[in-house]
C-alpha cells in the first residue's frame, strides 16, 4: 500500500516541482525560439506518458495486490492491444522527431547574409578575430602559433593583415544580425556555449566547426566552455556583449588590426631606466621589493605580465577595489606613466633586472604545500616559472608575504573581480579551492623553496 501512495505522490510531486519551482531555461536572447518550442512539445508528450504509465501502474498495484483467494489472469499476449500501443507510441515519437528535424535543418543552414567571426579557444581562455575591411579572415595554421602570433595567422596571406584581433575574453556582437561563429581550438576540445542563445558547439583542434544565431536582445551574456578541457576547465569563461549597431561599430573601431599589433615597437630599456627611478623608491632600485613599503619584488617578472598589470592599474581594473589598500597606492603611481610607450619602456627595464631568490617570512610545510601546488602548476608551471600562453606570471622568486596577500585578495574578490580583468576571474575561482590559512602558508613555503 505504501508503494501505491509513494508512486502517486512521486508523480504528483514531480508535477508540482515542475510547475512551481523557479528553475527553468534562462530567458532567450537569440532567434532560436524554435528550439524552445521543440523542447515544449517533447515536454508535454513525455509528461503525459510519465503520468499515465506511472498512475496506471500505481492503480494496478493497488487493485491487484495480493489477497488470499486471488488468482492472476492467464494471458500470454494480446496482439491487438500490443499493436495499438506500438502504433500510438510511433505517432508520439514522430510528433517529437519531425519538428526537431525541421529545426535542425535551419540550424545547419547558415543564412548567406550572416557575418562571419572566429572564436579561438585555448586552455583556458577565449579570444576572437573579426574580418577587417576586406571582409574575410586571413588563413591560419597551428604551425604559425607563437607568443608573438597567438592566432597563428599565416604570414603569407595578405588577407590576415586587416583582421581585427580581440586579445581578451570579451566579444561584442551587433543585435539582430545573423552571425556565423567559426570555432577553432589551439590545443584540446572546448565548447562554445551561451545559455541565452541556446546553441552550443565543440571547438576541435585540427578542424573548424561552426554555429550560427541572431542575437535578439542587448546585454552581456556569459560564454562558458562546456567540454571538459583540463584542470581549469571551470574557469574558462568569457562574455559576449550584444550592442546596438552604433555601439558595436564604436567598439570595433577601438580594436587593433593584426598589422597594427605587429607594428608595435619593443620597449626601450634605457628610457625605461629613467622612468623606473620613481618606482624604485618603493620597489627598490634592483627591483628587489620592500616588505616594509608593501612593495613586491619586480625583478624576475615577465614583461607581458608587468605590462598588463600597469595597464590594469592605469585603467582602474586593478587597485580600484575599496578594500585593496595597497593597490590603491599603486594606481596613481601607474598613472605617472603617460602613454603605452612609457609603459612598454619601463616594463622592458624591469624585465632586464636580474631575478633573485625569495625571502621567506612565513612558517609552513613545503611538503604539504607541494600537493596544493599541483593545481597551480598547471598554469604557473612545474617550477613556478610562469607561462605566457596561460597568462600565468612567474611565482618563483617572489616574496611569500606578497603572494599570500594576493591569493587572499583573489579569494575575497578584492582582486580579479573587475569586469575587464580577463585573467583575474580565473584566479578568483582557483584561489577558493584553498580554505584555510595553514594551507596557504604551506603553499607559500613550497613556493619559497623553489
Amino acid at each position: 500500500m505504501y508503494l501505491v501512495i509513494a508512486l502517486v505522490l512521486l508523480v504528483v510531486g514531480s508535477l508540482i516541482f515542475h510547475w512551481w519551482s523557479p528553475w527553468w531555461f534562462t530567458p532567450l536572447a537569440s532567434n532560436w525560439s524554435t528550439i524552445d518550442t521543440t523542447v515544449n512539445i517533447t515536454l508535454y508528450i513525455t509528461g503525459i506518458v510519465f503520468v499515465a504509465v506511472n498512475l496506471f501502474m500505481a492503480y494496478a498495484v493497488f487493485r491487484f495486490r495480493h489477497k488470499a483467494d486471488q488468482r492472476s489472469k492467464y494471458e500470454p499476449e494480446n496482439k491487438k492491444l500490443e499493436l495499438w500501443l506500438t502504433g500510438i507510441t510511433t505517432v508520439g515519437v514522430v510528433a517529437m522527431l519531425a519538428p526537431g528535424l525541421v529545426v535542425w535543418a535551419d540550424f545547419i543552414d547558415v543564412p548567406e547574409e550572416a557575418d562571419v567571426i572566429e572564436v579561438l579557444g585555448e586552455q583556458w581562455q577565449w579570444r576572437y578575430r573579426l574580418p577587417g575591411a576586406d571582409g574575410q579572415l586571413g588563413e591560419v595554421d597551428a604551425r604559425y602559433i607563437s607568443q608573438a602570433n597567438p592566432f597563428g595567422i599565416s604570414p603569407n596571406d595578405e588577407a590576415g593583415n586587416d583582421d581585427i584581433i580581440v586579445d581578451n575574453s570579451e566579444l561584442h556582437l551587433p543585435i539582430d544580425r545573423p552571425v556565423k561563429v567559426l570555432l577553432r581550438s589551439k590545443d584540446v576540445l572546448h565548447d562554445f556555449a551561451v545559455p541565452q542563445f541556446r546553441v552550443k558547439m565543440d571547438l576541435v583542434p585540427g578542424t573548424v566547426s561552426y554555429v550560427w544565431f541572431t542575437p535578439t536582445r542587448t546585454g552581456k551574456f556569459d560564454i562558458l566552455c562546456m567540454e571538459l578541457c583540463g584542470i581549469a576547465h571551470y574557469t574558462m569563461r568569457g562574455h559576449v556583449v550584444v550592442d546596438e549597431q552604433d555601439q558595436f561599430d564604436a567598439w570595433l573601431g577601438e580594436q587593433p588590426t593584426w598589422a597594427e599589433i605587429q607594428d608595435i615597437a619593443p620597449g626601450d630599456t634605457l628610457a625605461g631606466q629613467g622612468l623606473y627611478t620613481v618606482c624604485g623608491s618603493c620597489h627598490g632600485q634592483q627591483g628587489e621589493g620592500n616588505a616594509a613599503m608593501n612593495a613586491p619584488r619586480l625583478a624576475g617578472l615577465p614583461d607581458w605580465y608587468v605590462e598588463r598589470q600597469l595597464h590594469y592599474y592605469k585603467a582602474g581594473i586593478r587597485g580600484s577595489h575599496k578594500e585593496d589598500i595597497y593597490g590603491q597606492q599603486m594606481a596613481p603611481m601607474a598613472g605617472v606613466l603617460v602613454d603605452d610607450k612609457a609603459v612598454r619602456d619601463v616594463t622592458a627595464y624591469i624585465a632586464s633586472l636580474e631575478a633573485q631568490t625569495a625571502n621567506r617570512t612565513l612558517a609552513g610545510d613545503p611538503e604539504r604545500g607541494k600537493s596544493h601546488y599541483t593545481n597551480c602548476g598547471a598554469c604557473h608551471g612545474a617550477e613556478a616559472q610562469g607561462n605566457y600562453a596561460l597568462q600565468a606570471p612567474t611565482l618563483a622568486g617572489q616574496d611569500d608575504w606578497y603572494l599570500k596577500r594576493q591569493l587572499e585578495n583573489f579569494r575575497l574578490g578584492i582582486r580579479g573581480t573587475h569586469e575587464q580583468d580577463n585573467y583575474g576571474h580565473q584566479m578568483v575561482l582557483m584561489a577558493r579551492s584553498l580554505q584555510n590559512e595553514q594551507s596557504i602558508d604551506d603553499l607559500m613555503a613550497y613556493l619559497s623553496s623553489l
Binding site: F25, V53, F64, D187, P195, V204, T207, I231
Partner: protein, 586 residues
C-alpha cells in the same frame, strides 16, 4: 562422451575438494559468479565514496581543502568508469550471467569452465591496475570517463602521465576478460541448453544476458582499438587522434590525427554499452515481476523481439552522444531518427511490464518493490532520453546536468534497482537462506525515494544551464542563487542514499548465517534454476540427470492447475490442457 555441461552424468562427479580449487582457482560457474559479484560490489563501493566526495564539493563549495580541481576531476572520472564498466558490466554479466545461464537453461556449467576461471582472474587484474592508479605520481586520470583526446594525454589534465596509461591498460585487460567470459556465455546459451529448452522457452533473463553479451563482443573491440591507439599516441608519439596543436604554449610534433575519430570509436562501443547494462536488467526484472505477480510475463514474444531489436538498433545510434562534437552536421538527421526509433521497442517493454502487473496477484516482496521501483525510474530516465536524442533539444542541454541526471536515472539508478531486485530474488538460491525483510524494505525506501530526490532536481539544474564537470560554478549572469540550495539538498540526499547501502551490506552478510532457511523454491518460481536437487545448487547443478523442459518459463496461475505455478520441468497435465485456453508453446 559429450561435454559435461550438456550431458547426463551417470557416474560421480569429480568434485574439487581442496579449499583452493573449490573457492579460489574454481571453475564452477557459481563460485566464479560470486567472485565476480564480490569484486564488482567492492569497486562499486569505492566509486560510491568518490561520488560522495564529488557531491560534497558541489553541495558545499569552498568548504573542503582536500578536494581541489584536480582531485575533483579524478573523482568524476574514476566514479564514472568504475560504475559503468567495472561494476555494472561485471556484475550483470560476470556475476549474474555466470550464475544464472547454466542454471536457467539446465546445463551443468559453462561450456569452457577453464576459460571462465581465467576471465575472472583477468577481471581482477584489470581492477587492480585501475585502483593502482590512485597510488602513482599524479594520481588517476581526470580526463572524464569518456577519456577524450587530446586532453586525456596532455599536460593540464590530472593524471595525464601515469594515470591515463594505467586506465587504458586496465581497460584492455578488462576487455580480454570480458571476451573470454562473453564467448563462454554465448556458446553456452547456444549449445548447452537442456532437452526441450528451445530458444523461445528461455526466460527473458537469458535473452537479455545473451543479447547483451553479443553486443559486448561486437562493441568492446572498438574500445580496445581506441585504447591501443591512444596508448600509442601517448607513448611513442603517433598521431591517430592528435592533430597539430599547441599545448600550454608549446608546439607539439603531432599532426594529422582526428579527435573526433576517437569519439566515434568510443561511442560505437559506448552506446551499445548502455544496452549491455540495460538488456540483462530488462531480462531479470521481467522474471522478478512475473514471479512475484504470479502472472506470466505479458507479450513474451514481443519482449524477446524487443530485446533483439534494441540490441540491433543500439549499433546505429552512437553519434547522438556527439551532436555538438563538430562532426558533420548532417549526421544529426540520421542519428536523431534512429535514436527516437529505439524508443518504440523500449516503450513496448515498459507497457508489457506494467501489463504484467495488471490482473496479477501482486506480492509486494522486497525484490518486487525494487522491480516496480525500476519501472518508475526507467520510465523517467527513458523519457528524458527523448529530449537528448532529439538533436535540436540536445543543443541547449548537452554537457549540462540534465545529461548527468538523465543517464544516472536510466543507466545508474534503474539497473541498480534491478540488481538489488535480483540479489534479493536469487539470494535464497545462492545461500539457502532468506534475507532480513525489514532491512530489505528500509534499503528499498531509502534508495528509491532518495535517488529520486537526487536526480529529479538535477534535471532542472541542467535546464538552467549549469555545465557538468565544473569544480565550482562561481558567479554567472544566468544561474540564480537558489540553484546552490538545490545543489546542497541533492548532496544531502546523495549522502543519505550512500549511507543507506549499509542496510544492504549488513543484510547480505548477516543473513548468510542467520537468515531463515528457505528450502526449495521459496518464491514458487517456474524457471529451472529453482528446480535443482540441492539448495544452494552443488557442483554440476543437477545430480545425475539433467532436467527436461516441457513448457515456457511463465506458466503462472494456469487455469485448471492446482498450484499457481508450474515449473518448466513438469510435463503438461490433462487438467491444464482442458482447463485453459492456452496452447503449449513450441
Amino acid at each position: 562422451m559429450q561435454h559435461v555441461a550438456i550431458a547426463d552424468q551417470t557416474e560421480e562427479l569429480h568434485d574439487p575438494h581442496s579449499f583452493i580449487t573449490k573457492y579460489v582457482w574454481s571453475q564452477d560457474h557459481k563460485v566464479i559468479a560470486i567472485q565476480y559479484g564480490g569484486t564488482a560490489i567492492f569497486v562499486g563501493l569505492v566509486a560510491l565514496v568518490l561520488s560522495g566526495l564529488m557531491r560534497l564539493q558541489l553541495g558545499f563549495p569552498e568548504s573542503f581543502d582536500f578536494i581541489d580541481p584536480s582531485a575533483y576531476l579524478q573523482f568524476v572520472t574514476m566514479h564514472g568508469m568504475i560504475m559503468v564498466i567495472y561494476l555494472l558490466t561485471a556484475l550483470l554479466l560476470g556475476g549474474f550471467g555466470n550464475y544464472l545461464i547454466p542454471l536457467m537453461i539446465g546445463a551443468r556449467d559453462m561450456v569452457f569452465p577453464y576459460l571462465n576461471m581465467l576471465s575472472f582472474w583477468f577481471y581482477l587484474l584489470s581492477v587492480i591496475i585501475l585502483l593502482s592508479s590512485f597510488f602513482v605520481p599524479g594520481g588517476p586520470t581526470g580526463a572524464g570517463w569518456t577519456l577524450y583526446p587530446p586532453q586525456a594525454i596532455l599536460e593540464g589534465t590530472p593524471g595525464y602521465d601515469w594515470g591515463i596509461i594505467l586506465m587504458l591498460a586496465s581497460l584492455a585487460v578488462f576487455i580480454i576478460a570480458f571476451t573470454m567470459g562473453g564467448l563462454n556465455y554465448v556458446t553456452t546459451v547456444l549449445q548447452a541448453r537442456t532437452h526441450g529448452m528451445t530458444l523461445m522457452r528461455m526466460p527473458l533473463t537469458i535473452w537479455g544476458i545473451f543479447t547483451a553479451t553479443v553486443l559486448g563482443l561486437l562493441a568492446f573491440p572498438a574500445l580496445l582499438v581506441s585504447a591501443i591507439m591512444m596508448m600509442l599516441d601517448k607513448l611513442i608519439g603517433t598521431s591517430f587522434f592528435m592533430p597539430a596543436l599547441v599545448s600550454l604554449g608549446e608546439n607539439l610534433d603531432y599532426t594529422g590525427g582526428s579527435p573526433v575519430l576517437f569519439q566515434h570509436l568510443f561511442w560505437f562501443f559506448g552506446h551499445p554499452e548502455v544496452y549491455i547494462v540495460a538488456l540483462p536488467a530488462f531480462g531479470m526484472v521481467s522474471d522478478v515481476l512475473a514471479t512475484h505477480a504470479r502472472k506470466n510475463i505479458f507479450g513474451y514474444r514481443m519482449m524477446v523481439w524487443a530485446i533483439v531489436a534494441i540490441g540491433g538498433l543500439s549499433f546505429i545510434v552512437w553519434a547522438h552522444h556527439m551532436y555538438v562534437s563538430g562532426m558533420h552536421p548532417a549526421f544529426g538527421f540520421f542519428f536523431a531518427t534512429t535514436t527516437l526509433i529505439i524508443a518504440v521497442p523500449t516503450a513496448i517493454k515498459v507497457y508489457n511490464w506494467v501489463l504484467t502487473l495488471w490482473q496479477g496477484n501482486i506480492h509486494l516482496t522486497v525484490p518486487m518493490l525494487f522491480a516496480i521501483g525500476f519501472i518508475f525510474t526507467f520510465t523517467h530516465g527513458g523519457l528524458t532520453g527523448l529530449f537528448l536524442g532529439n538533436v535540436v533539444i540536445d543543443l541547449p542541454l548537452s554537457d549540462t546536468y540534465f545529461v548527468v541526471a538523465h543517464f544516472h536515472m536510466v543507466m545508474g539508478v534503474s539497473p541498480i534497482m534491478v540488481l538489488f531486485a535480483a540479489i534479493y530474488h536469487w539470494y535464497p538460491l545462492m545461500t539457502g537462506r532468506m534475507f532480513n525483510v525489514t532491512l530489505g524494505k528500509l534499503h528499498f525506501w531509502f534508495t528509491f525515494l532518495g535517488t529520486y530526490a537526487i536526480y529529479l532536481p538535477m534535471h532542472y539544474i541542467g535546464i538552467l544551464g549549469v555545465p557538468r564537470r565544473y569544480f565550482a560554478m562561481g558567479t554567472t549572469d544566468f544561474i540564480p542563487e537558489s540553484a546552490q540550495t538545490l545543489n546542497a539538498s541533492i548532496t544531502v540526499s546523495a549522502l543519505i542514499v550512500g549511507m543507506s547501502q549499509l542496510f544492504f551490506l549488513a543484510n547480505v552478510f548477516w543473513s548468510i548465517r542467520n537468515g531463515e532457511k528457505t528450502g526449495h523454491n521459496p518464491w514458487g518460481a517456474t524457471s529451472l534454476e529453482w528446480q535443482t536437487p540441492d539448495v544452494p545448487p552443488k557442483h554440476g547443478n543437477w545430480g545425475k540427470e539433467l532436467p527436461r523442459v516441457y513448457r515456457w518459463a511463465y506458466d503462472y496461475s494456469v487455469p485448471g492447475a492446482k498450484e499457481d505455478f508450474i515449473p518448466q520441468n513438469h510435463p503438461v497435465t490433462k487438467e491444464e490442457q482442458t482447463g485453459g485456453e492456452h496452447e503449449e508453446k513450441a
